[in-house]
Symmetry: C2
Subunit: 130 residues, 2 copies
Amino acid sequence: MTTTKRSRQREAILEVVQGTKCHPTADWVYSEVRKIIPNISLGTVYRNLSQLSEKGTIQKLHMGTASEHFDGNPNPHYHVCCTQCGKIDDIDAEPFEKFNAWAADMYDGEIFEHYTLFTGKCSQCKSIKF
Amino acid sequence: MTTTKRSRQREAILEVVQGTKCHPTADWVYSEVRKIIPNISLGTVYRNLSQLSEKGTIQKLHMGTASEHFDGNPNPHYHVCCTQCGKIDDIDAEPFEKFNAWAADMYDGEIFEHYTLFTGKCSQCKSIKF
DNA sequence: ATAATAATAGTAACAGTTATCAATATTAAA
DNA sequence: TTTAATATTGATAACTGTTACTATTATTAT
């Protein structure tokens, strides 16, 4: 098992991901990190985002879109995608375990976990009169 | 709004998707449809799978993998991905509406729907002794 | 200091998908 | 039935997000 060496790039990437609630894509992280390390390469961003999510420091989120999103909060929690503005909000709550039990009841195999994405309307969009 | 003309290609594609429970990718559909129409092009398969899922005849499933999967059953239902063999099983049940209510309770916006993928072990893998 | 090697920048390659376009097939109307 | 209009096709190029490659640089343990 290969040891890990620190790098200023990885630390900057982690800071960017942990410093936002926007659940960014690799490209967004790249453009932000370049403000700190202008000549960082996109490959480095991808490499470190993968490494960090494999280590469990951050999360990789599959939003059903072309590109992956990342979340600086490694704890399992749900997300709501606003159908109006596209914003991804957190729902900070423990996993809804009853759901697994409910599914297991209708499935002849075993159920381990569930990955859920909610759609909805965020509070800002909700309050816009039109 | 542009009208639709029948095509033997689209009908073959639909038959293939409706004729399997394996939740195939475009590539799998392509290789199957070629048994019926050997010179069909991959672009045609993609084009029709998109069109059919936009029309609501089939479903496009985001499995969090590189390629999209399709489901000949257009009715909303859940899926379980076996962590051992990768098979995607159906759970034929109505959406678990309580889940939306539960989420709405902790969210200051509105909740419309949820998309869930379960992980687990399918019945075949479950029965294998090792 | 030095040696070992993890990480980098830069770039090419890759996979899945979408776009382009001339030729073909389907449909509605004459 | 021809004809005209146009949706669809096969073939292929282009595009996007991501990963792989490689020589160079940075980090760490000795």
